[in-house]
Amino acid sequence: MSEFHAGDCVRVREDFPPGHIRTPVYVRGKTGIVKRKLGTFANPEVLALGRDGMPAKALYEVRFRQKDLWPDYSGPDADTLDIDIYEHWLNRI
């Protein structure tokens, strides 16, 4: 998987696999902007199976508009949410 860079527009996978998933349901299928790469870490979905978490996965800080996440959001348009998402949950758009 090619690396993401700050400013890249990404969509979170809208999948619902079983197991321990660090990508909350409310953000799946939503579109955001990559802020930065936070590092590369053992994959928690694999660690959750009692294994070593390899291959390691890059973790990105992704920014979403609150209005894109919550249909009834009543706050300012400029409000955003930053959330950490692993590379295999992101697709470039």
Binding site: F16, H20, V25, Y26, P44, E45, L47, A48, L49, G50
Partner: protein, 103 residues
């Protein structure tokens, strides 16, 4: 589709933020978790998977450390550390010792 823990954005009542002391058995479970991690029998993410697998009813009924206990028990059975029969026998023995009726 949505695990019992994954409640971001759902309606929720007021959150009880009052502090409380841990009971002795809660401390025991906490200590057991640390020891099992040191022995390589437990990882945080693995623990999370078992807690999230408890299902909505159990997850929303059990207290925090009751969830830990239920999850840890299942996890150690899956790893072959002990069997469900051994857990049941131990529980019966303790109930007997405490003079409780079997539930």
């Amino acid at each position: 589709m949505r695990g019992p823990h994954d409640i971001g954005g759902l309606k929720a009542g007021p959150v009880d933020t009052s502090a409380h002391e841990m009971t002795f058995w809660e401390k025991q479970i906490d200590a057991l978790n640390v020891l099992l991690a040191q022995k390589g029998l437990r990882k945080v993410d693995e623990n999370r998977r078992y807690i999230e697998m408890l299902g909505h009813d159990a997850y929303n009924t059990l207290s925090y450390y009751e969830r830990w206990t239920a999850a840890l028990s299942r996890q150690l059975i899956d790893k072959g550390v002990f069997t469900q029969d051994e857990v049941d026998a131990k529980v019966a023995e303790i109930r007997d010792r405490l003079g409780e009726d079997a539930a």
